[in-house]
């Protein structure tokens, strides 16, 4: 057990180091840091002095080590575009993105499981067929198009929901700002959350449906029915419970994708989050912000993957006996 955890953590560290190397290479070799920092009238001597002062003439590994040391302390330098510390920029926008991601993740999970169970139990029903057809279109629709169409229907035609921004936010202690406590904040959250969660919802729904259909054919369900248990107890007590292990895993892994896809949703709805910051940095080639965002997303992904793997290990006893068989499944 301990050996497995240690090996997994070691792998995570290797991944993070690789990402850090890419991130550092970006930082160092895409564009010239000195040119980005000084004005046009700075003399060549001053530039050389600055280059020396910043340590840009040091050997590669010395620079990389310094970059790592700073990154661990949360120091990613100063944004070329906004002339502010990158970490402060990201931290001030993180609450908006995390709130959006968690709410749409929860929506996707609740509706995905609900629709999945319904379509599995009433396989031939009209409503089930309608849901399945709609989900196919939902998968093919690009995220940004869903957002634009929602804005059109609910903000332009019906005029019942706001189309951009976060509404009124309340500052909480610890530097966190939340839109969940004000009516306008909650109303602003609805359309972006649906846009972001729709794809994940269809994914979860299809997974739950497939797993349910598989489980409902199993022997123990037949025996449960033969014992005279109610449909309700069989469906929800016995069947659903056994489908949830892979579903929770996938949902966990999808949380990372949600944070990444927030880039698109935040652009459509002008949501003041990290994704919008990133896309503006890509447009302006603001390398420090890009490098920091890359590291941040990688960290989120690595942590989620690690937790999911450890959960798997805790939940599924087969993994402990024969790792090869479980890993390839």
């Amino acid at each position: 057990m301990l050996a497995f955890i240690l090996r997994r953590i070691f792998q995570s560290v290797i991944v993070m180091l690789t990402v850090a190397l890419v991130s550092f290479a970006l930082f160092r070799y895409v564009g010239d840091p000195v040119t980005s920092m000084v004005g046009q009238e700075t003399s060549l001597e001053d530039r050389a002095a600055l280059r020396d002062a910043l340590g840009l003439n040091d050997p590669f590994f010395v620079q990389f080590a310094r970059f790592l040391g700073n990154a661990v302390q949360g120091d990613f330098g100063i944004s070329y575009r906004l002339q502010e510390p990158v970490m402060g920029l990201i931290l001030s926008r993180l609450p908006a993105t995390l709130e959006l991601a968690l709410i749409s993740g929860a929506l996707a999970f609740i509706f995905g499981v609900g629709f999945g169970v319904y379509t599995a139990l009433r396989r031939r029903g009209i409503i089930s067929n309608a849901i399945m057809t709609l989900s196919l279109i939902g998968v093919s629709l690009p995220t940004f198009l869903i957002g634009v169409l929602l804005i059109w229907i609910f903000a332009v035609e019906l005029q019942i929901l706001p189309s951009f921004g976060r509404g009124e936010v309340v500052a909480l202690p610890g530097g966190w700002s939340t839109g969940l406590l004000t009516p306008s904040g909650r109303a602003s959250l609805i359309l972006p959350a649906i846009t972001l969660g729709l794809y994940q919802m269809t994914l979860i729904m299809r997974l739950v449906r497939a797993e349910m259909l598989e489980v409902l054919r199993a022997d123990y369900i037949r025996f449960a029915r033969a014992r005279g248990l109610s449909d309700r107890a069989v469906h929800f007590g016995h069947a659903l419970k056994n489908t949830l292990v892979p579903v929770i895993t996938i949902t966990g892994l999808q949380l990372g994708s949600i944070i990444a896809f927030a880039i698109i949703t935040e652009t459509v709805f002008q949501w003041p989050g990290v994704g919008a910051l990133f896309i503006n940095s890509v447009r302006a080639v603001d390398v420090p912000v890009m490098a920091a965002y890359l590291m941040l997303i990688a960290l989120v992904f690595v942590i989620i993957n690690l937790i999911v793997d450890l959960l798997y290990y805790a939940v599924d006893p087969r993994l402990r006996v024969d790792r090869g068989a479980g890993a390839s499944a």
Partner: protein
């Protein structure tokens, strides 16, 4: 010659795949939609009423003409209306679909080439080459491809001189989307190669001294192409969507040569003032293109190999 052609056509008509195709109304419909869209895009210069890339042919007075109504100033009427610059929406859609398809097809070809190459080498050589390539693939696969494409696009922008950014934009786009999507090809080709390389025909070829490059490209590659084509078809739908997304985010093709994503981006700005047609028609075109190619890919996957499901 004619006899041989008609002979092979009859054989193709009676093949399993063609039978499967005729029996699936969804596949036939999707193929019809996809084919007509592709043809319309390829022959856009002949079909389009005007050339939207030619500023001289535009009349700003024509701007914001609703579909099939006469413009108050010029008296011109357009089937699908005009956009803010007076460009005929039908023409911009045809030219936009052309660009979207071009970027999509080129990106898929690039990803295929890269993935097949990496997969063949990894599967054939094994050892550390295999380990390194597949570890890279694993790491890349754990991030969403749109994020990878965005990053590569950002890096490329940083490396290219500002005055060349617009002319290089399409190629940068193709490379970013292609690089974000090679992993699947590599994985499939690798595992297929590992199976094929132990078969007798490969052993025989090795014994008579055929060079590995020739074995890989002439003997093994044809036998692993089936699944690759399936991935490529679904990949084309994904690449078209990726291109539209990047262009919508404003990091794709330059606005002077709009793709479908750029058109939707432009259309979104005029939703609130009631000019819905600038948004709706490009959106329908994009959806039809992505959905039909996607459905074709799904059908091909089931028809070629039920086990791939």
């Amino acid at each position: 010659m004619m006899a041989r052609l008609s002979d092979s056509l009859t054989r193709a008509y009676h093949s399993d795949l063609a039978y499967n195709f005729r029996k699936s109304p969804v596949a036939v419909l999707a193929a019809l939609v996809a084919l007509s869209l592709v043809l319309a895009a390829v022959f856009a210069p002949l079909l389009a009423p005007s050339n939207p890339y030619d500023p001289a042919s535009l009349n700003l007075m024509d701007g914001f003409t609703p579909p099939m109504t006469e413009n108050a100033f010029t008296g011109n009427s357009y089937l699908l209306g005009t956009d803010n610059q007076g460009r005929d929406v039908l023409s911009t859609i045809l030219y936009g679909a052309r660009l979207s398809l071009f970027v999509g097809v080129m990106a898929v070809l690039f990803a295929m080439l890269l993935g097949i190459g990496a997969g063949l080498i990894a599967g054939w050589r094994g050892g550390w080459v295999d380990t390194v390539l597949m570890r890279v693939a694993d790491v890349q696969l754990s991030f969403p491809s749109i994020l990878i494409a965005l990053l590569i696009f950002g890096v490329a922008r940083g490396l290219i001189a500002p005055d060349q950014r617009d002319t290089m934009a399409i190629w940068v786009l193709i490379i970013s989307i292609g690089l974000s999507d090679w992993v699947q090809y590599a994985r499939v080709v690798r595992s297929a190669t590992m199976v094929e390389k132990n078969k007798e025909y490969v052993q025989a070829a090795r014994i008579i001294g055929v060079r590995p490059v020739v074995i890989l490209t002439r003997h093994i590659l044809p036998n692993v192409m089936g699944p690759v084509l399936v991935i490529a078809t679904i990949g084309l739908a994904l690449a078209i969507i990726a291109e539209a997304t990047l262009s919508f985010l404003g990091v794709g093709v330059p606005p002077t040569e709009p793709s479908l994503g750029t058109l939707i981006r432009i259309g979104q700005q005029y939703l609130f003032s009631g000019e819905w047609w600038i948004l709706l028609f490009p959106a329908i075109a994009l959806l039809a293109l992505a959905l039909s190619v996607n459905l074709l890919g799904d059908w091909l996957r089931d028809a070629l190999n039920p086990r791939l499901r």
